[in-house]
Symmetry: C2
Subunit: 230 residues, 2 copies
Amino acid sequence: MTTRIVELRKGILKKNDELAAGLRGRYGQAGVLVLNLVSSPGTGKTAFLERTLRELRGRGARVAALVGDLETDNDARRLAASGAPVRQINTHGICHLDAEMIDKHLADWEGVELGGLDYLFIENVGNLVCPSSYDLGEKVRVALLSVTEGEDKPLKYPTLFNSADAAVITKMDLAEPCGFDRELALRNINEIRPGIRIFETSSKTGAGMGKWLDYLAAERAGGDLGSGKR
Amino acid sequence: MTTRIVELRKGILKKNDELAAGLRGRYGQAGVLVLNLVSSPGTGKTAFLERTLRELRGRGARVAALVGDLETDNDARRLAASGAPVRQINTHGICHLDAEMIDKHLADWEGVELGGLDYLFIENVGNLVCPSSYDLGEKVRVALLSVTEGEDKPLKYPTLFNSADAAVITKMDLAEPCGFDRELALRNINEIRPGIRIFETSSKTGAGMGKWLDYLAAERAGGDLGSGKR
């Protein structure tokens, strides 16, 4: 039975990769930088994304977000406070987003066209395991980690950090009460993904957001928005 | 393809349920209370369990722990500081424990016999989704949630909280700097699982541990250790 499952899973991932390649091509033609944000539940993805959307809009950028959750539209409602168009994807029990869900929700998103966007953010379902296997056609995969979670997460969930293009440490305002060991966290991230760009941020105080937004602008200006390959 | 996956998954879960029923019977015969701890990565399961093991040993109880992780034996090494026998289960990419893994690791655990234990704790892989589907034969499933994660987790991951027998809120020492809304968290947990026992704890200060240990003793004394059914 296990062999059949593995074969079927391979088939599903192959189909996902094909759909993701199509999405990647469309993102490139539209000139939109697409990011896929992955972390545990509770890392603070939504707060970080809400602030990112708001500050990018403040800089005059055209932004939108798709947000995945098993249930509820809490996150979409929170993100909508940024003023950006936001669409909730409820997966009803599936613990990750896949390329087909993205394709479907882009197809009938009223008032939003890829060609009218500079940045599209995809907030994945909170899960450190399964989202790593599903390419969504994004150019930049972002692994988030909060100071409250423990510095050894990169070692315990290597696939996620190893497939990420950037790492964001969130809730830096809580570093001291949490006894966060910054050097150890940076060392562990670098052990799994040597040389990865790391941003130390607080969505509450705004610390580190400037460098993060500059990075986004540079990634977008760097072109090849549809040429990446996972 | 999706239909075939669903059928295969049903078969896997059925086989797991059969194995779990066998485990449950053995736990009952041995007179050991078995608990399955489930939460996000970073909720503080390991710190909470380490303190629980240590304090139970201080009360003269015979305790042991199995701990699941994708990779590393960090958690087993941390838990071993309690003085209790601890065994690491590395799942190598599988995002939950299953009854077969438990059965296998119990079978050749040198120096540990179910009959010589009062309590066996199973720390599941950090994941709020998949562990809910896999019965490990435990009498008590414990859903943990930290004050740093956001009060709406029970609404967003209803299956886990709905299948839990007890809820533990961790890191209460951080409630104030995190702006934790206690009333909202309790309301959300009760909405998904009305009347569930909730423990508010801090592994750092020891707050709430007394009530938790009393609950464990009462569950054990209550008998029927092998008669539960999920």
